[in-house]
Structures are given as C-alpha cells and as structure tokens.
C-alpha cells in the first residue's frame, strides 16, 4: 500500500470508529461513502459476473484457444439464454407502473426455483439426516456391537437424544405446554438456552476477531508500532 492509500484507509476506519464517541460529520461522510461504494460494487460485480459472463458470452461466445492459439472448442451459442434475458427484462419493468405487474413473472421464477431446491435440500440435510444422527446406539459404539460404548459416548448420545427431542417438543405450539408435555418443553428450553449462550460466546469471539484485525491494520500496517 502506498502512503495515500494507507492514510485514506486509516481515515475511513477512524471515521467509522468515531461513532463510538458520538454521531458526527466524519462518521456520516464515511457511512455515506460506504453505502455508495457497496451499492456500486454489487452493480459492477453482478453486471460482469452474471449478465456479461452468463448472457452475453453465452449468446455471443468466442472460440476457446489453448496457449498455442489452436481452437480447443468452437463457439456454440446458447439461444435458450434469451429466455433468461427476457425474464431479466421483465424484472426491470417494475419501474414502469402500468406494466410493472409483469415483473411478477420473474419473481415467480426466482421463488419457484428457490422453493424447489430448498424443499429437497432442507428435507434431506436438515431434517432426515439430522434425525438419523440422533437415533444412534446409546450403549454401543456402532449398531450390532453390544454394550461396548465408553461412558463418555453413552452420556453424549443420551444428552443429544434428550436435548433434540425436548427442544423439538418446545417448538410444538399446537398443544398447550402443560403437565408432562410442559415439563418436557421446559427441559427443551434449558437446552436452547445453552445453545444461545454458546452462540453469544462465539458471537463475541467473532466480533472481537474483526476488531483485532482492524486494530492490527492501524497499529501494524499504518503506524508500524507492532510486529
């Protein structure tokens, strides 16, 4: 990094940090630059990576050449991409009030694709495989090996089974949480509180790591005060 770049980066970093003292013009300018640059970054990124790379290069491809300049693969236009282009254009029609309703077709495509994909992926990975991972031998190291688990594995498997089951019972709101059902749900809450506490601990760790990174930039890259 050259001198101007370093000082600019440090100026913008300290501008954001100045918010900790109080809301001020330096922070507001830095924030406004951040909003503008972020929006512009994504527009440029998606234009070249999505629109140009997928649509333009797909409809008007070039021959693929090796290092010697010989054609490895001849250009093969994919005209089905015009449907994608049309859907993209329909999305932009949202800006025209009279025919803005046509953008719903593009939205419908996005929502349909995501729904179809997520239905199977989440059912498989987040439901079925997770249930399979819970129904494990409690006192054996594997199915059919007898009572050969160590006490740590046995305790672990029992706790996971109890925790998963009671947690799911807590999330069942179609029945009132009373009596035995209510007591089971309460045990579930305890497990969920441990989960949230662990998540809080890790969140603190993550935020501190990011802060350490920025302070390292200020003290090492900018001011050269530390190794």
């Amino acid at each position: 990094m050259d001198h101007f770049s370093l000082w600019l980066a440090a100026f913008l970093t300290l501008g954001i940090v100045s918010f900790l003292y109080k809301d001020n013009a330096w922070y507001k300018i830095s924030e406004a630059i951040f909003v503008g640059i972020s929006a512009g970054y994504w527009v440029v990124s998606l234009f070249w990576d999505n629109f140009y790379a997928k649509f333009w290069k797909g409809v008007f491809p070039e021959d693929q050449l090796n290092e010697a300049g010989e054609v490895i693969q001849a250009a093969q236009p994919d005209y089905w991409l015009f449907i994608g282009g049309a859907l993209g254009l329909l999305m932009l029609l949202r800006l025209v009030p009279k025919i803005g309703w046509m953008s719903r077709w593009s939205l419908a495509f996005i929502v349909g694709a995501t729904s179809g994909l997520w239905l199977m992926n989440y059912l498989s990975s987040n439901v079925l495989v997770q249930i399979q991972g819970t129904i494990v031998p409690l006192f054996s190291s594997a199915f059919g090996t007898g009572f050969d688990a160590t006490w740590e594995t046995a305790v672990q498997n029992i706790v996971i089974l109890v925790g998963t089951f009671t947690g799911l019972v807590y999330f069942y709101f179609s029945k009132e949480h009373k009596g035995a059902f209510g007591r089971t749900a309460r045990v579930g809450i305890f497990f969920l509180m441990i989960t949230f506490g662990a998540s809080f601990g890790y969140t603190v760790m993550s935020r501190m790591s990011l802060l350490i990174g920025r302070i390292d930039f200020l003290l090492h890259d900018w001011l050269g005060m530390i190794e």
């Binding site: 999505n50 077709w105 179809g116």
Partner: protein, 216 residues
C-alpha cells in the same frame, strides 16, 4: 393472466427442481443448467432495481435540499464513481492494479470491516448494562456463554492447567459445543427445515401467493 401465469411458472419451475433431485440426468440436468443461468441473469437485473431506488431516494433528497442532503450527494458521487470505473475497466475489473481494485482495497474493505468490528464495543457495553441473570433460563445462558468464552481462549488453559487432562476448561467448552449445544442447534435446524419444507410446498402448489402480491 396476471395471477395465473406466475403461479404456473412457480409450480413448473419448483416441480422441475424437485424432480431433478431424483432424476439428475437429461433432460433434467439440462433444465438445471438453464434455470441456473436464468437465475443469475435475473439476479443481475434485480440489483439494478435496488441501485436505481437508492439513486432515486438520494436524488430526491438533494433536489429538495432536505436535512443532511449533503450526505445523499456523497452517496450518489461514490456510487457513480465506482460504477463508472468498474464498467469502463471491462471484464478484468478485479485484476490487481486496476482503479476498481484500488477502490475496493482502500475504500470498501476498510469501511466494511470497521462497520462490523465496532459491534464488538456494543456487545461489551450491552453485556455490562443489560445482561442480567434474572431467572433460571438467563442464568443458564450466561453460564454457557461464560464457559465457552473462557474455555475457547488460552486463558482457560492457564486457569485450569492444574486439572487433569480432559477435565480442563477447554475440554468443558468443547463438550458444551459438541453435545448440548449441538442438540439445541439440531432441534432448531429440524424445526426450521420442516418449516421451509412446508412453505416451499405451499408456494409450489400455489397456496402461498405473497410473492405475486396476494394472500391465499
């Protein structure tokens, strides 16, 4: 037409992806390729809508000279700067040495990283002012957070170094993460998974119509 065509599109596309899960061969593999590319193209056009909205709101503020209109002008200027630079630079806009890359490394990264990192200060302040063990649940949460935070850093090893191997704070933190925490996460995951499955089915079957501007 306005409501029926989107519902048909949602149903066909959704069903196509479900069938593709079980039959990943032609013609469904080809359909997967098409839909993936169309999805990317629509995504690119959607971001244009968002950017135009941002510009519209900022321009209105500048034109009407509302309060803090100067900052709106800064938003417009920085947006136009990076967009024009990025579009002019062509396909290799990310290559180190380009003006876009310079803006990315020296403006975007410091701002973005610092925005997230100041949350560390607010987490500490909130912990001091608001985090109270008012009941059993909150106490459990605090205790779990305490053991995970202390056990995951070298200080935990330092404090409990006298304990036998396998019984130190680091081991306790590992056990909390791998056993009760994993159980709670699994319960949440299964619950969310079932919710996603139900909602996706409703969308594909046309029962859920919020995305096309209507109720059931």
């Amino acid at each position: 037409m306005r409501r029926e065509v989107p519902l048909i599109i949602t149903g066909i596309v959704g069903l196509g992806f479900v069938v593709q899960y079980f039959i990943p061969h032609f013609p469904f593999s080809k359909m997967n390729d098409w839909f993936t590319d169309w999805f990317s193209i629509v995504q690119a056009c959607a971001i244009v809508l968002g950017a135009l909205n941002l510009l519209k709101v900022s321009l209105e503020k500048v034109a009407a000279q509302k309060k803090d209109w100067g900052y709106a002008a800064v938003i417009i200027a920085s947006f136009l700067l990076i967009t024009i630079v990025g579009l002019v630079e062509g396909e290799g806009f990310r290559t180190p040495g380009t003006t876009f890359d310079w803006l990315y490394v020296n403006v975007y990264i410091p701002l973005s990283a610092t925005m997230f990192s100041i949350l560390a200060f607010f987490v500490a302040s909130a912990s001091y002012r608001a985090f109270r063990a008012r009941n059993l649940e909150a106490t459990l949460l605090l205790i779990a957070a305490f053991f995970v935070m202390i056990g995951r850093v070298p200080v935990g090893e330092m404090i409990s170094g006298f304990m036998p191997e396998g019984w130190r704070l680091g081991n306790l933190a590992s056990w909390i993460m791998n056993v009760p925490q994993a159980a709670g996460q699994r319960a949440i995951m299964i619950g969310i998974g079932l919710g996603i499955v139900a909602t996706s089915l409703r969308i594909i079957l046309g029962i859920e119509r919020a995305h096309i501007g209507g109720g059931e």
